[in-house]
């Protein structure tokens, strides 16, 4: 996803002089080409995320379209009040791009996880939140973000996530994507964990269970229709996210269900259960350690179906 973002911002910069790439001492090598070809559209703020975000608001106020990019936790948390007051409250056309979100920087330890970022960005009025699941989605979402006027948070993971889309995929704000249809249960996910969900859904099929898999790249605004429909047609919903279940995708889906008086038989948010990411090691290991492996998804599906049928 990171490389897809860099490609997108490069292409955008070529098309529009107002597009700016902002970094906070994280631009070496990956931005070499950009810096070389569009030096005037590249600003390195050094290790000062708060300053970068407020300065981005100032730039936007003068007609620029700044994309401020650094590690997800640092841009959403270190600079939170700057995001609130200067970007959202004053509706500035600033794009925040966080990399290494969730527990993707598993080997860096917990200060480098971002498992609350969706929740805190979601409470900010005027903020749009995009969680790409694959490189193509990251590319499309970045291009889309440049087109709209207003704050966007793009939550990226790292590199080498497998692809789920065709080349012509276009991102649509407020739209979920059904990757696999099914009528027995619905699995909603955001981010690269969608691959674990698809693995789980395919294994469930061998057991005769047909799970609907929805990728939800747009967390705010969320696709209400796709959730309501899933509730009506499958009655059971599990959300899966690499984030605290408080305030993230699970909460968002639950709010939609309740507000629209959807009667579901069962609902379960999978994610960090009000805790910080546990364990230490590879990304796959740490997902398992925190209850987010394909096996654990299958187990939850079986429980939900088994106990209720």
């Amino acid at each position: 996803m990171r490389n897809a973002y860099i490609k997108a911002i490069y292409d955008l910069a070529k098309e529009d002089k107002n597009i700016l790439a902002l970094v906070a001492d994280n631009g070496a090598i990956v931005f070499d080409q950009f810096r070389c070809d569009y030096p005037e559209q590249f600003i390195n703020f050094g290790i000062s995320e708060a300053n970068m975000v407020s300065a981005a608001a100032g730039l936007a106020n003068c007609g620029k379209i700044p994309f401020a990019y650094t590690i997800a936790g640092f841009i959403t948390m270190r600079a939170f009040e700057q995001v609130r007051n200067d970007v959202c409250l004053q509706k500035q056309n600033v794009k925040l791009v966080g990399v290494g979100a969730g527990m993707r920087y598993s080997a860096q330890g917990p200060t480098h996880h971002a498992t609350e970022d969706i929740a805190i960005m979601r409470v900010l009025p005027s903020m749009n939140i995009i969680v790409p699941a694959s490189p193509r989605e990251a590319y499309a979402a970045t291009r889309w973000a440049a087109q709209i006027n207003g704050p966007v948070y793009i939550r990226l993971e790292a590199t080498n996530e497998p692809e789920i889309y065709e080349e012509d995929y276009e991102f649509q704000l407020g739209k979920g994507v059904i990757l696999k249809d099914g009528g027995d249960i619905t699995l909603v996910a955001a981010g690269s964990i969608i691959h674990d969900v698809l693995t789980a859904a395919n294994k469930l099929m061998e057991k005769g269970i047909h799970a609907r898999v929805i990728n939800m790249p747009s967390i705010k605004p969320i696709d209400k229709d796709i959730i309501i429909e899933a509730a009506q047609e499958t009655g059971k919903i599990i959300t899966i996210e690499e984030h605290n279940v408080i305030g993230g995708l699970g909460s968002t889906v639950a709010e939609v269900l309740l507000e629209n008086r959807c009667s579901v038989i069962a609902f379960k948010p999978m994610g960090l259960q009000d805790c910080f990411g546990k364990g230490y090691g590879s990304h796959a290991y740490i997902k398992t350690k925190n209850g987010l492996s394909p096996e654990q998804i299958i187990e939850n599906c079986l429980k939900m179906i088994g106990t209720l049928y």
């Binding site: 001492d25 390195n44 050094g46 000062s48 080997a107 860096q108 200060t111 480098h112 590879s282 290991y285």
Partner: protein
């Protein structure tokens, strides 16, 4: 002032050499991590852990201990090597850096490893944590001292200066701020990326006793730490001029070695140079 004998200098120099070897070996095994900024701090850490700090590895939580906070948390390997050499945990454990389930994480985690005073990694926060510890020491009239090691790029974080201001305002003469002034950050020379210069003048203007030294000269480091003990009514900032990657010629002063680890071949070359 404390006497610094030739044999003391010799001991500390040898410890720094061993710490550098540990850093290379553990990063070689881990395959990921921060090499340059760990090596640049090795002499400072050797002086702290083998001369300055009042610690008891058998009682890592002892109330009266001196506190060391690695504000530049990415240099975890130099901290782990120092703690292991000082007897906080077995040296063999160094080989588990960044491995599944190891307490030696990519950035230090105080909940996982005895001797780690603060879970750092988000730059700028460690120094404020150290200011808090210094304030507590003052409130309790406790004799312990507090030390924070910062990167020079880290000085670009605004909160660093809020912390320095508070340290001077509250007259924290029990606090020593050490800057590993290796001149580099991830994206290149600090002077090119976002210059925090003139560093010593800034600390002085913020109310610190400021000492500029060669951060690879153990005698100079120990002298500065001794001077800091004589200072009263204000914190001391030691600006230690260092070379990133110090000790391995092919890494020295090269920004690309910030977050890259040596391969098998490079490990052998580095160890041969370190002796």
């Amino acid at each position: 002032m404390r006497e610094i004998s030739d044999s003391t200098v010799e001991i500390v120099t040898e410890k720094a050499r061993v710490i550098r070897r540990d850093i290379i070996e553990m990063l070689g095994k881990a395959g990921s991590g921060h090499t340059g900024g760990s090596l640049s701090a090795a002499d400072i850490m050797a002086c702290l852990y083998f001369w300055e700090l009042n610690l008891d590895p058998l009682k890592p939580d002892w109330d009266g201990r001196d506190r060391f906070v690695l504000s530049k948390g990415h240099a975890a390997p130099v901290l782990y090597a120092s703690l292991a050499e000082r007897g906080f945990f077995p040296r063999e454990q160094l080989g588990t850096l960044r491995k599944l389930g190891s307490p030696l994480q990519g950035h230090p985690d105080r909940k996982k490893l005895a001797g780690v005073e603060a879970s750092t990694g988000s730059l700028g926060q460690g120094i404020s944590w150290a200011v808090g510890m210094g304030l507590a020491g003052k409130i309790d009239a406790a004799p312990y001292r507090v030390y924070a090691l910062l990167g020079d790029g880290e000085l670009e974080e605004g909160m660093v200066w809020e912390a320095v201001m508070a340290a001077a305002h509250y007259r924290l003469d029990n606090l020593v701020i050490i800057v590993d002034n290796n001149g580099l950050q991830i994206d290149g020379p600090i002077k090119k990326v976002m210059s925090p210069e003139p560093i010593a003048d800034k600390f002085r203007a913020f109310g610190c006793e400021t000492i500029a030294i060669d951060g690879h000269d153990p005698r100079a480091i120990m002298d500065a730490l001794s001077c800091a003990r004589q200072v009263s009514g204000k914190p001391t900032a030691i600006i230690a001029a260092t070379v990133k990657g110090k000790g391995c010629s092919f890494m020295e002063d090269r920004p690309e070695w910030h977050g890259v680890t040596p391969n098998t071949d490079e490990v052998q070359r580095a160890l041969a140079e370190l002796g």
